[in-house]
């Protein structure tokens, strides 16, 4: 029995070798089959992505994968769709267990560092010339480490867009969104008096306030170079500017600005709560613009929703026109790919990130980091969003700071909203966590 198995293995191995040689120096493959040359032998690539929510862009990506397989019948992509909340954990665990898929969604910045350190990613520099005309340097920066490119993004997500119902603001006496923080607080008071929730937030899962809200508010007070400086030890969270940014939360809590169930509502409920006009404003990512306006079947309601950025603060060091943005959905490749599998994966990337992808995304109202022509059918909402976010991007907190610090901030925000902690205490806790994570 054992002997028989060994024999088959030997035979398979030698045929593989022969077919590989017969392929005229074509890339050797460990997946080669007995019949056919490597050029048209079927290849299967495993892939993992977190496109499980019914967002418009997720559907586009999946359709593109399907189309690629139709055009390349000899390449099969076996994809697993994993909910975002579990995605990072799963990939990380697989990497730890040495069983990463061939292709996977890779988060940029600090999330990518451990993979770089463990040397499990394959650089894609050899195919980068494909995009030299449409992808500017800054759009690629998040996926570039030590001069090597590891992935390219599909879209640009601005996490801190303030959406507001124009008629509700008008009722409170505001024709347009306030330009300064003091006016903003005034608006909050007037909205509260008129009996609506001023600002809807669903912070049960903790990240929305940290990522969406504090990325923008922090940047207004401290400027965009603050977080990198903290990482280098040149600045501290206990610096007065950052403490002031944290006390924005307690200012708003004092005014009852948020919905009372801020800590038990999640981010999707938050969007619906706003759409139902129970709140005058909400803050969430630019991706949600499609749900709020672009694909909203109620045109009047869609037109009634305005977008803005968090207002300027007195004495703030940040650019009040900057929005906190992050690039998303770069597909990374496993370093273990070789031969036909590697070629197939490179071919897939070249197909996937065609200018056509970016244009389709734009026509659905999604901001992309690529310099492609805005399609004729792009909605006015997208143009409005592009104009609002054109002044460069500020860092998003969780793409820059270590997980332990993020964790302290997230729980600290909940503690401030339930009046168990002050801004000063939280700033100190964050700095302690920062010092500890450096060790």
């Amino acid at each position: 029995m054992k002997n028989a198995i060994r024999k088959t293995m030997l035979v398979t191995a030698s045929t593989t070798l022969i077919t590989a040689l017969a392929g005229c120096g074509g890339s050797t493959t460990d997946e080669g089959k007995e019949n056919g040359t490597p050029a048209n032998s079927p290849v299967t690539l495993t892939m993992e992505y977190n496109w499980s929510t019914p967002n418009v862009d997720n559907t586009i990506y999946k359709e593109r994968i399907k189309k690629f397989q139709e055009l390349n019948p000899n390449i099969k992509i076996e994809a697993q769709d994993i909910p975002s909340a579990q995605y990072r954990t799963k990939l990380r665990t697989e990497a730890a267990g040495n069983s990463m898929p061939d292709m996977f969604i890779l988060y940029p910045g600090i999330e990518m560092d451990p993979y770089i350190a463990a040397d499990v990613l394959m650089p894609i520099d050899e195919i980068m010339s494909n995009w030299k005309d449409i992808l500017p340097e800054q759009a690629l920066a998040g996926y570039k480490v030590n001069g090597k490119q590891y992935a390219i993004p599909t879209k640009m997500t601005f996490v801190d867009i303030v959406y507001y119902h124009k008629d509700m603001l008008a009722k409170a006496g505001y024709k347009e969104f306030p330009k300064t923080y003091d006016e903003f607080l005034d608006l909050v008071k007037k909205l509260k008096d008129s009996g609506v929730t001023p600002l809807a937030m669903g912070n049960k899962n903790r990240w929305p306030m940290q990522s969406t809200f504090m990325s923008a508010v922090g940047d207004r007070f401290t400027g965009s170079d603050f977080l990198p400086k903290v990482n280098k030890g040149e600045a501290k969270f206990t610096d007065p500017d950052y403490v002031k940014s944290l006390s924005v939360i307690s200012d708003l809590v004092k005014l009852d600005a948020f919905n009372a169930d801020i800590n038990t509502m999640d981010e999707v409920q938050q969007q619906d709560y706003f759409l139902q006009k129970k709140a005058a404003m909400t803050m969430t990512s630019s991706t949600i613009d499609a749900k709020f306006r672009g694909s909203n079947s109620d045109k009047a309601a869609a037109d009634n929703i305005g977008i803005a950025l968090f207002p300027a603060v007195n004495g703030g060091k940040g650019d009040p026109t900057a929005s906190a943005g992050v690039i998303q959905y770069g597909i990374g490749l496993s370093k273990s790919l070789s031969g036909a599998k590697k070629d197939a994966a490179m071919k897939f990337l070249q197909y996937f990130y065609q200018p056509e992808l970016y244009q389709t995304l734009m026509s659905k109202g999604i901001v992309v980091p690529a310099k492609v022509e805005v399609p004729a059918d792009a909605s006015p909402y997208l143009k409005e969003m592009l104009a609002l976010t054109k002044n460069g991007s500020a860092p998003v907190f969780d793409s820059v700071m270590p997980a332990a610090v993020k964790d302290v901030l997230e729980n600290g925000i909940q503690a401030i909203t339930t009046k168990q902690k002050t801004a000063e205490q939280l700033a100190k806790d964050m700095q302690d966590a920062q010092d500890k994570s450096k060790k």
């Binding site: 954990t89 990380r92 665990t93 990497a95 730890a96 451990p114 993979y115 350190a117 463990a118 499990v120 049960k204 899962n205 903790r206 009372a260 169930d261 801020i262 800590n263 038990t264 129970k278 997980a403 332990a404 964790d407 729980n411 600290g412 909940q414 503690a415 909203t417 339930t418 168990q420 902690k421």
Partner: protein
């Protein structure tokens, strides 16, 4: 003698598959966890031996102790809420009322429902807006008592306890019911002859006969209370600000959110130690009263 010897072997061979599975999915992972708990490891970079640092830093963390406190609340909820309620319903059902099957299934239903669904149901009960509990309070004229039941740091654990009792009393009810039905009618008749009825019968006859069963349910209630995770995770995710966090959630956040597998393993070892201590204490208590 000969037969006995042979049965011993057959029993062992029969148990072997289960034993292998048990060792593979229970004992080996515990051993691995124990090993990891001495390392600083994020899953990707090389593991670094740090001795007992994971344990000392966990034991120094006030959030961990908050979790221990909340676990004790869960334990008390199990022992003082689920067990008496389970016994109460078992006694009711044991009296053989009409439609007993329907009642039995109804009361047992929460045990069958997945914890995630239970959490979602109770999340809807405790909601602020259009929440059932707040609606009920409004209806009976107690509108001023309306609350953010889960989001309020003082009430969060209490609200979760109610859901936890509802979820699990049926499990103990079935165990008690099985035990009650095993008490033979003759004993009851004899008790009645001796003049023991109602409370007296329960106190001097039924309860002592349930002693072994109670011991089993105690162990279940204690170990379940240390394992509770999904119920709380779905309702509040341990929030707001750690107020409803239990040790398992603390472990999950440590290991998988903050990517400190060593730290998480250390916490899981502590959970094991704590539950063993609690079960041992329960053992001592029941032995003493015997």
């Amino acid at each position: 003698m000969h037969v006995l010897k042979r049965t011993g072997w057959t029993v062992f061979i029969g148990m072997l598959p289960a034993l292998v599975i048990y060792i593979g999915i229970a004992l080996v992972p515990i051993g691995m966890s124990f090993y990891y708990s001495f390392f600083n490891w994020d899953g990707l970079s090389p593991m670094r031996y740090i001795g007992l640092d994971n344990f000392t830093s966990t034991l120094k963390d006030s959030v961990f102790w908050k979790g221990v406190g909340n676990n004790l609340i869960m334990m008390a909820t199990g022992l003082l809420g689920q067990l008496p309620l389970g016994l109460f319903f078992a006694l009711m059902l044991n009296r053989g009322l009409r439609g007993i099957k329907a009642y039995r299934s109804m009361l047992f239903l929460p045990v069958v429902i997945s914890a995630v669904i239970v959490s979602i149901i109770w999340g809807m009960v405790f909601k602020i807006e259009n929440g059932m509990l707040n609606g009920l309070l409004e209806l009976v004229g107690l509108g001023s008592w309306q609350q953010d039941w889960l989001g309020n740091p003082k009430l969060g654990m209490l609200s979760i306890s109610v859901a936890y009792i509802w979820q699990n009393y049926g499990f103990y009810m079935v165990i008690f019911l099985a035990a009650l039905q095993n008490i033979s009618a003759e004993i009851k008749e004899a008790a009645v002859m001796d003049g023991a009825t109602g409370w007296k019968q329960f106190w001097y006859v039924t309860l002592p006969m349930l002693k072994e069963t109670i011991w089993v349910t105690l162990v279940f209630a204690i170990s379940n209370s240390f394992r509770v995770f999904d119920l709380i995770y779905v309702m509040t995710a341990g929030g707001p600000a750690h107020n409803t966090e239990v040790m398992t959630i603390y472990m999950y956040n440590n290991a998988f959110q903050n990517m400190s597998f060593g730290g998480g393993s250390a916490v899981s070892m502590l959970i094991l130690v704590f539950s063993l201590i609690a079960i041992y204490a329960a053992n001592l208590l029941t032995r003493r009263s015997q």
